[in-house]
């Protein structure tokens, strides 16, 4: 029913889509995978009308169509569920659901709030969400927002005759395991009315949900796989064009850490907002993983170590010295590095060059009396660009124009080049493609070998298990359980889940 035929899209210097053929039938769930830069987002934008193709055709129910903008696509039944946080936080849930389509509730220029609330409740019921539609969105959890996002797209059901095509862009990235299950159940139920295009980096989820999977590489579709036809490894092979290392998480490189050298010690730390009595120790060379659901307090613990939050009670010691004044500056001086989850917001400064970003945390080292030695900075940046094979035209490239993986490498280089030996990694592989992920895993092992202590909040449980020396399960702001994770004796997913939920 929906089809792309030989669709082409070019940007200055980039051939983003090369004669892409794509089709989706009634009630189908189609997966779309590919590395970052393979052309997935361009393809999605063409589908939901944000981009217009330069060549080829979009065919719906046998007729060629052209969408001038996302709204035109919506009116044909094509909707997009965006990645997290695409709801407007200061509006109520119902306003978000009907944003741009308020007219149906307007009589003589007046919005009938009651009618809108009723209609919104009906939409929320579709996604099994029982919240007051007048709730301000900022009060919702991430998972709830994701469902509201879905409910919003499902309003197309009433507006559009015929079938819907709904794009789900990384819908699970902020969801906990059980929430993902709920979402999948919903999606399957909704196939009576809609077709879904499911985009995710989590290969297992794509395999589980999709009837068919389109594999993209370098702007072209390289394979179309029906359910059960191929294994994860085979698909990954297609995506990256080579075999993915069996030792994905580099377990073979895991060496015992130095238990005599304590880098970070938290004793009975409590924070405002439900974080209670946290005690943990990080040793040199140790990868310590914090595991828990969204909002369980993992991030707050990282931020406390980094000095961005001040505990109400308890002691934080870095390398044996108790911290009295909490500030990132203090922590950085003691060798702490922080790789934040919101890479584009907190990780890099878009608009500044690669070298400026790399030395941002250690300008003192590259200056005397406040005057920078720019030649030195640039040499250091060039060095790390080649060391981490960062794809940038030069150290003078604008960091904001790099791909996600390369941005992450710049962030890591920022701390490593400054000699940080306590690294706090918050979702370091989020949104990265497999190749970039592997690079990050290698770097984690490299750092561990060099005696760096790492506190990790991983993207998936598998990643946490695979990478860590120790795992601490956090739930509702309290530590539930500590696991040791020697290679060969690692806890199972089930072990962790048991304490998480």
């Amino acid at each position: 029913m929906y089809q792309l035929a030989k669709v082409d899209k070019k940007f200055p210097g980039v051939h983003a889509l090369k004669a892409v053929d794509f089709q989706i039938g009634r009630g189908e769930i189609v997966g779309l995978v590919g590395e970052n830069g393979a052309g997935k987002s361009t393809l999605m934008k063409v589908i939901y009308g944000a981009y217009q193709p330069d060549g080829g055709q979009i065919i719906m129910d046998g007729k060629t169509v052209r969408f001038a903008n996302p709204r035109a696509a919506m009116e044909q039944g094509i909707g997009m569920v965006f990645q997290e946080q695409s709801l407007i936080a200061n509006l109520t849930v119902m306003e978000n659901i009907f944003l741009g389509y308020e007219q149906q509730f307007v009589r003589f220029g007046v919005i009938n709030w009651k009618a809108m609330a009723t209609a919104a409740s009906a939409q929320l019921a579709k996604v099994r969400l029982t919240i007051d539609p007048a709730t301000v969105t900022s009060a919702l959890s991430f998972a709830q927002r994701q469902l509201v996002e879905l409910a919003k797209v499902l309003t197309l059901e009433e507006r559009v005759q015929g079938n819907l095509v709904i794009l789900l862009d990384e819908p699970t990235s902020v969801l906990a395991e059980d929430e993902v299950k709920l979402l999948f159940k919903l999606v399957r139920e909704l196939t009576t009315r809609a077709s879904f295009i499911f985009v995710s980096h989590r290969m297992d989820e794509v395999m589980e949900l999709s009837d068919r999977i389109y594999v993209m590489k370098d702007g072209a579709v390289v394979d179309v796989v029906n359910r059960g036809e191929k294994t994860v490894e085979q698909i990954q092979h297609k995506m990256v064009g080579r075999n993915v290392d069996k030792e994905y998480y580099r377990e073979h490189r895991q060496k015992p850490f130095d238990a005599t050298k304590e880098l970070v010690k938290l004793e009975g730390v409590s924070l405002p907002g439900r974080i209670n009595d946290i005690s943990l120790t990080l040793h040199a060379g140790e990868v310590l993983c914090l595991v828990g659901t969204e909002g369980s307090g993992r991030e707050a613990i990282l931020r406390t170590i980094y000095g961005m939050r001040t505990p109400l009670r308890g002691k934080v010691s870095l390398k044996g010295q108790e911290i009295s004044r909490f500030s990132p500056r203090n922590a950085v001086e003691r060798g702490v590095g922080y790789v934040p989850r919101e890479r584009k917001v907190e990780g890099i400064v878009a608009g500044m060059t690669v070298y400026e970003n790399m030395t941002l945390s250690q300008m003192g080292r590259h200056s005397s009396a406040g005057i920078l030695r720019i030649a030195g900075e640039r040499a250091l940046a060039r060095d790390w660009i080649s060391k981490l094979s960062i794809k940038a035209s030069s150290e003078l490239a604008d960091c904001g124009n790099l791909s996600g993986g390369n941005q992450q490498k710049v962030v890591l280089a920022k701390w490593r080049s400054g000699g940080s030996d306590i690294m706090l990694l918050d979702h370091p592989t989020r949104g990265l493609d497999i190749g970039a992920k592997e690079d990050v895993y290698d770097m984690i092992r490299d750092m561990s070998d060099a005696g760096v202590g790492i506190v990790l909040v991983a993207d998936t449980l598998e990643e946490a298990i695979g990478l860590s020396h120790s795992i601490i399960v956090v739930k509702d702001g309290a530590i539930q359980k500590r696991f040791a994770c020697e290679p060969g004796a690692k806890p199972s997913l089930f072990d962790l889940l048991h304490y998480m939920i």
Binding site: V349, G351, S361, M363
Partner: protein, 313 residues
């Protein structure tokens, strides 16, 4: 020519076009002595705009600059007799201090700089009125010449103000491009959360940006007081909006992290040329303000580099 590549150069191209346009109408405008004198006269405004650049560079604004300059003309006039040359230090310290106060209110008390600097400007104005006894004050002409005469003389055809301006421009350009402070301010302007997460003491740098703005406003006030040999709590009125316009026309938008002091130098010259062009084009008095506004819209539309603005608010 690729328009994209041309964009960073648009401010000074605009300046050249304007100069050429006026020059065609009346070639006396293009005489070097005339251009030098035109540049010399705009210096106090330029110095204030230079300071404002720092506030705008970090994404804020400093609306206290004019009151600060007013206050400093009064301080300079009142204390020249007792302090001698040290009055300059006092003036700059006053500006720096008030700027720091604005910065503190903005960063620690979370009052947007639009409001905090306006409020601090009110305090400075009150202080100026109190110190001056609500009168215009004179400096002793002989003492002014002895202490600050060098500021307003001429060497050949070059007004000394220009040396001061170039010196301050070089200094601020050095701060912007070559020091940790300048780098930090760029980071704060372009991505404050990332700067904070990199361990920079963002609050301190922001306070410093406002303090520098205050100090430069003070220097502008001091130079103006010397030029006029006196001070009054309202004498620098009319500085603020042209100074803001100079910064914006130069291509430092209010979003922060883009542009810089060199842009402001060009922007100030654009303002000076637009003003002078009123004279050379024989614009009627009643039409001048309207035409200034229209030319301004054109100039901003030309100079602003939209590629660097994520959203246009």
């Amino acid at each position: 020519m690729d328009l994209q590549r041309l964009k960073p150069h648009l401010p000074w191209i605009t300046l050249l076009v304007l100069v050429a346009a006026v020059g065609i109408v009346d070639d006396t405008f293009l005489r070097p002595a005339n251009l030098l004198s035109l540049a010399g006269d705009i210096v106090p405004l330029f110095i204030m705009a230079l300071g404002l650049t720092f506030a705008i560079y970090i994404g804020g604004i400093d609306l206290s600059a004019q009151s600060m300059a007013n206050l400093v003309t009064v301080v300079a006039s009142v204390y020249l007799a007792s302090f001698g040359a040290w009055v300059a230090v006092l003036c700059i310290a006053v500006g720096f201090g008030f700027g720091l106060l604005s910065g503190y209110i903005t960063t620690r008390l979370l009052v947007p700089s639009f409001i905090s600097t306006l409020a601090v400007g009110g305090v400075a104005f009150s202080l100026a009125q109190y110190l001056s006894g609500q009168r215009a004050l004179n400096m002793d002409a002989a003492q002014r010449d002895a202490v600050f005469g060098w500021m307003i003389g001429k060497t050949g055809p070059i007004p000394h103000e220009l040396f001061i301006a170039v010196g301050l421009l070089a200094l601020t350009l050095f701060i912007e491009r070559r020091t940790t402070l300048g780098r930090a301010l760029k980071a704060v302007g372009a991505g404050e959360p990332a700067a904070a997460a990199s361990g920079l003491n963002v609050a301190r740098y922001k306070m410093l940006a406002f303090a520098i703005s205050g100090a430069l406003a003070a220097i502008a006030g001091l130079l103006f007081a010397v030029k006029l040999s006196g001070g009054a709590p309202t004498i620098a009125n009319g500085f603020l909006l042209p100074a803001i316009v100079a910064v914006l026309v130069g291509g430092t938008p209010l979003t922060g992290g883009v542009g810089g002091v060199l842009n402001t130098a060009i922007g100030t010259l654009i303002v000076a040329v637009i003003r002078a062009s009123m004279l050379y084009f024989d614009i009627q008095a009643t039409q001048q303000q309207m035409i200034f506004g229209l030319v301004l819209i054109g100039a901003i539309a030309l100079t602003i580099d939209r590629a660097k603005l994520r959203t246009v608010k």
